[in-house]
Each structure stands twice: as C-alpha cells, then as structure tokens.
Point group: C2
Chain length 409, copies 2
C-alpha cells in the first residue's frame, strides 16, 4: 500500500526567534509516534510508517503583540486514523488546540482517504433533479421562530412560504421541543401543504425538518422521517458531532439530502490566533461527512464573514474533491433581494439563496417575500438589473424600497 | 408547573455607546420567540411562557481596540429545550456565536432541568469505593504513544505502570487504529496485567480504554467493553459530541465510569472575544452530561490554563449541583512530582494527579516514575515536604533532581 498523508496547516504564534522547524517537528512526531530519537533502531523501522513529518515551516510575520507568526504544515500518515472526523480532529488538533496560540487553517485529504468518507449522498445534481430546477440558484425560506406553534399553524406557514415559489423551506435550527408539533406529523402536514401549494404554483417545495433528540435515537428517527415522507433533514452538525452527519449520510435507508447547520461554529472560527478556520469547519469537513447543503454566514448579511472566507467555504463544498458529490453552498443570515446580485456574482447558479426575515418581513407577507426573491433570481440569471425586474414585479419593488438595492443593479 | 430558566452569561464587545440592554433583549427575544412586538396580543399571551428575558446587561470596560465590553445575562425558559446539550448549546449559542464579538462565559442550570441530565454515574465516591482508596488524591498514568503497538506490548506497558502503584492507566486519546490491539482483547490483556501487578503490589489498577469508532456502534462497543471486563472508558467528548457522553452515562448496561478527554477544547476556550469559557466547556457541561472524570490543562504544566479558570473547572466538576454526583477533576499535561504540592494546595484530596512524561520519563522506568508520584502524594497528604519524603524514596529524589521542586517544599 502506498503511504498516504493528511496535510494539516496551522497558523502559530510564538516568541521571536522560535525555531519553527523544531516546533513543527515536535507536532509531527508528538501527535504520531510520540517520540522518535528515544526509540531503538529496530522499533524505528517498525514505526516509520506511523511517523508524521514536516512539509513546511515558514515564519510569515509579526503580530501586534510582537509575537512571530508562522505557517506550519504537517503530514500525518492516514494509517494512524480510522476514516472518521472524531479520529481526524482529535489526532491533528485535539491536545494541540490547547498548546499555546495555534489555529488550524487547512486540511488536505488525500483521495483514497477522502473516498472512505460518504460525502453528500445527493449533492447539487441530485437535488436539482429532485426539484427539476436547473440553471439558476435555488431559493430557500427559513421558518421564522415557531417555538410553541402547533402542527396546523406550522403547515399553514409552510404553505404561505411555498406559495411564494421557494424551492425549500427549512426549520428553525432552535426548534427542539416537539410537544405541539411532533416530528412525523409536522413532516406529513408540511408535505400536504407543499402539495396544496403545488396545485397553485406548479412547483414542489422541499421541507428540511430539524432532526433532534438523543443521538441513540436519531438514526431511527431519521428513517421514520423518510417513511413519513420527509424530503430533507436539517442537522446541527457541530453540537451533535460530525460523525452523526457521517453516519446519516452513510445510511442507505436515509434516502433524503441532509442540510448542515453551522450553529456553534462561531465559537471556533472567528479568532485570529485560535480555533479552526471556517472553510475547514463549514466546508471541507461538512462535505466529506456528507452534507448535501452547507450553511454558513454570507459576506453580505447581518452575521457576516469575510468574503474571501466565504468563497473558500463554497469551493470546499462544491469544488472537485475526488469522487465526492458536490454540495450546495448556502450563504445565510440577513439576506434580502437586494443582495442577490452580490451572491450571484460570487457563486453563480450553484448556490442556494436563503432568507428568513427577507421573506417574512415583506410588507405583503411571506408569499410576496418569496416572489420578490424569485424575481430577483430570475433577473440576475437573465442578465437584467433588479431595477428592471422590479418594473414587472411589484413584490420585488417593495423589497428593494424597504431593504435597499446596494449593488445598484 | 413553575417556570424555570437557564441563565446564560455572555461577554460581548461592541461599539462605544452600544445599548446593551437592547442588545441583550434582542438575544432574549430572538433566540426564543423570534419577535415579540409584532405578535398580536392573543398570541403574546400564549407565547409568554416561551419568552426569554434580560437578567443583567452591564458595561464593564473598554478593550484595547476601543470597543466597549459588557456582561449580558439572559434567562431562557427551559420548556424551549429538550434536556440535552445539543438543544441547549444550539439554542443559547448556536447562531449567536457567529454574531459579532461574543463569548459564552457561564451557564446556570436550574435544579429541575439539571436533574433531567444523567450526571456522573459513579463520581468521586463510586470510584473511591471501587479502588478502596480514600483520603488522598488518586494517581493516573497515561500510556505513552502506543500507535502501532500490539496487544501484548501494550499489556506489558500497562503492567509496568501498574507496578508503580498508580490507581488508573488511561489510553492515549489519539489511539484510534485498533488493527494491532483490538479493543476487547486490549481490555482483557490489561485486566490480566492489572491482576498480575496486584499480586506484587496489593493494589488494583483501573484501565480507561479509548472508546472510538462510528457513533452508530459506540454504545454497543461500550457494552461489549463492559462484558470484556473494562473498568473505565475514555471518550473524546468534544469531537464526538456531548450527547454521546450523555447517552453512555444514561445507559444502565454501561456499568463503568467515563473519563472525558478535553481534545479540541482549545479551539473554543482561549480567545478573550469568542468561544466558550473553559469552566463551561470542560466543567459544567461535562458534569451534567455524565463525566466521572474531567480532564483539563492544569495551571502548572506544559499546556497551561490560568489558575483561576482551573479552579472554576474543578468547582463545576465536584461542587454541589443539585442531586448530581461529584466528578473527579483531573488537571493534566506536563505534570511531574515536583508539581504535586501546587495541585494539592489548590484541590486537596478530591482530584486525580495525572502524568505521562512525568512517569515514563523517569530514568529508572515507568514503575519507578509511578513510585515517585506515590511518595509525593503521600508526603503532601501527611504534611511532609517533598524533600523530606525524598530521603525515603530514591525514585522521588531522582524525579525532583531531574524536573525540579518548584514549590520548594
Ligand atoms: Mg434560525
Ligand atoms: Mg495524549
């Protein structure tokens, strides 16, 4: 077997004069065989295949505290890991995450190792086929907070959203208490609402129901959701653990796409010194574990991430990665129709325009809010300006008047 | 039913002049009912019990970037959550974690809600009973890296450690590939090694085996471990998700204590602006989810945490918390015998002294390294100095000569 390595890049801060090659070597040895020079020669021969090594250790500057900054890239033999994210993350950033100012900024998975992860079960192509929607960004609406609402009310909300022409509706990620709207009943009711809307619009709307509850029951619950007619599932991947996503995606009975919510990611990606970069956390790891849709803060809305980072997340989700299907990037938070030209310029067709307040806050209601987005998407795809499109869409005109048209297009 | 609230405290940074009361109210409403003033009065009456409210919003200073800092405490009705950590963390810090400079610094769980979590199954008292060891700190040895070692070699390493008089031996947390030392075989072999050592020392040594593999199989695997004679399990809680710990602890068939490893915690706790404070991450949440042992970086070793933070972690693990059992604090990383007086002064008897290099790096080997620690613990418990004790323990003398005796005691 040819030896394969996972390449992990860290941003480290340390005292001026730090020997970065030595630091990187300490990581490469310490997180694999533990110690090397102490080993007898015969043992070294046996352990060679488990030993990590330094790929690069380069000082790149000084921070404002006078600390030197360096990029360190370490290669870890894949035979040290089982092909799952707990093994990978624990090994390459478990203890190390606590060892001074160090940040995990990139992970490069070799092809064979990546192919042992499920990746998206449906991905962009599968979801487009299910919706019969091609050559345009898809549109998703987020349930506004529905804590305490019963099934019938939720289904009516779903219907209003579906009437607006959205492709998908997702549950609020904080929807946990299912006392008033039990999971399977909610799925059935929303499916009926989707069919009712389809009779008016000709368009079917998928519902991504929030998959919650004990991890010991979540796989059965997902299968029951499929039996109840679910057509997508939402998962809070970081609070449940990536391996839950992985095993849902790998389960042949769970025949629906999975939407990965980024809840809690902000506890890990924003610091310059610590944590895990967003393209790893919300891009690469979500993709290999099996997200069909990857949500992340857009560069333009209320909860913003740097544009360069958002482009890297999207690339990680939908770029070439061995044989893995491509996942839909879903830039989110505070999106209104006036932002569609920015999103389209960044990502083109293969993305999901995702809005909550930008749909429900429409003065004529959620259906009108959806229609404003449909008109905006239609405009950018056909090379028209939003202003032009608004002349044929009073709903879009209202949205632009209310929230603005910052691209001026 | 009396309304109960989870109180969550955040450290927020924002522009000078930020209206913190308004900011906190936005969180309290936004993360519960979504919006309030928009709701019709009849709906408000129904939703009142789901509504969060502001407990405190206090500006506390200015950071070096000129941003105002504030402590915000928000009360969330427990009826919005199911009693599990994914629900809790997603709700109170899911999307919010990505919304500017905000850090979760404390969570206060009301008694009834906390009692719906399992907490430690055995805790300090149960573990002391199992070991028949009272009135002193316990001693744990960490396997040095054993990637690629076979079962027999690992058992021999275990035997050497047990001979030194340690109470527990734990697997390395990066031990994932079980090709050469399968889980149950390893557990059986280490148990035999423990019995063999007991014949010489009169003392039994527990083995905490690293519980790894797919989350869909981990519960069965834990039960099989118990059948194979396991007496403790190690779990990488943050990479697997707290709910895995929770369900292991809640499973009546898993009749062994669980050790919570902090791997990946450094991606979340060290920043001053972002993330989750270590006492929440490694103390409170570990305790309620069911950790019998909570590992965290000590204030004195190679991977250090501030002393005040370590004391808060220990308090969260072993202080009064309703009816939950008390968990053992396990300050870790770079511990050698000369540090025992500091640890003892901080935490007294109810802790575990945990060492890897400080045991295996002993010039006379791991058994001698263990005996040096046993002598150091015996000294502090009996009010003797390490220097006095070293006159009767050549192993301790060697350790102090090699690594120092920084307390001067
Ligand atoms: Mg939401
Ligand atoms: Mg270790």
């Amino acid at each position: 077997m040819t030896q394969e390595f996972v390449h992990v890049t860290y941003l480290a801060h340390g005292k001026p004069g730090t020997d970065w090659q030595k630091k990187a070597n300490g990581i490469a040895v310490g997180l694999t065989v533990g110690s090397w020079t102490d080993l007898p020669e015969a043992r070294q021969a046996a352990m060679q295949k488990h030993l990590g090594h330094v790929v690069a250790a380069e000082e790149i500057g000084t921070d404002r505290d006078g600390l030197a900054q360096a990029r360190l890239t370490v290669a870890y033999p894949t035979i040290n890991f089982t092909p799952d994210i707990p093994a990978l993350l624990t090994s390459v950033f478990g203890k190390l995450s606590m060892d001074g100012q160090i940040r995990l900024v990139d992970i490069d998975l070799p092809t064979e190792f990546a192919s042992r992860f499920p990746g998206p079960k449906y991905g962009i192509d599968g979801i487009r086929n299910a919706l019969n929607a091609y050559d345009r960004p898809l549109l998703m609406s987020i349930f506004k907070s529905v804590i305490g609402y019963d099934t019938a009310t939720i289904a009516e909300h779903f219907y209003q959203q579906a009437l607006g022409g959205v492709d998908l509706v997702k549950d609020d990620e904080i929807f946990f208490d299912e006392t008033y709207a039990p999971f399977e009943k909610r799925i059935e009711a929303c499916r009926l609402a989707a069919e009712r809307a389809q009779q008016e619009t000709g368009k079917f709307t998928l519902y991504a129901a929030n998959l919650t509850g004990p991890v010991t029951e979540i796989f059965d619950k997902a299968r029951r959701a499929v039996d109840a007619g679910a057509n997508a599932l939402l998962l809070n991947v970081l609070t449940y653990g990536y391996d839950v996503l992985h095993r849902l995606a790998a389960d042949p009975q769970i025949t629906v796409p999975i939407m990965a919510h980024p809840a809690l990611a902000g506890a890990m990606y924003p610091s310059a010194q610590y944590g895990v970069a967003a393209p790893v956390l919300l891009g690469k790891l979500m993709r290999i574990a099996g997200a069909d849709f990857g949500l992340y803060p857009s560069a333009y809305g209320s909860v913003a991430l740097e544009r360069a980072e958002t482009l890297k997340i999207a690339e990680a989700l939908r770029g070439e990665q061995g044989t893995l299907h491509r996942a839909f990037p879903v830039p989110s938070a505070g999106i209104h129709p006036g932002l569609v030209p920015f999103l389209y310029e960044d990502l083109g067709n293969d993305q999901i325009i995702n809005a909550g307040g930008g749909i429900h806050g429409h003065p004529q209601g959620s259906a009108a809010g959806g229609r404003a987005f449909v008109a905006a998407i239609d405009a950018v795809v056909n090379g028209k300006t939003l202003t032009e499109a608004a002349s044929n869409s009073p709903e879009l005109k209202t949205s632009l008047d209310l929230w603005g048209n910052p691209s001026g297009k």
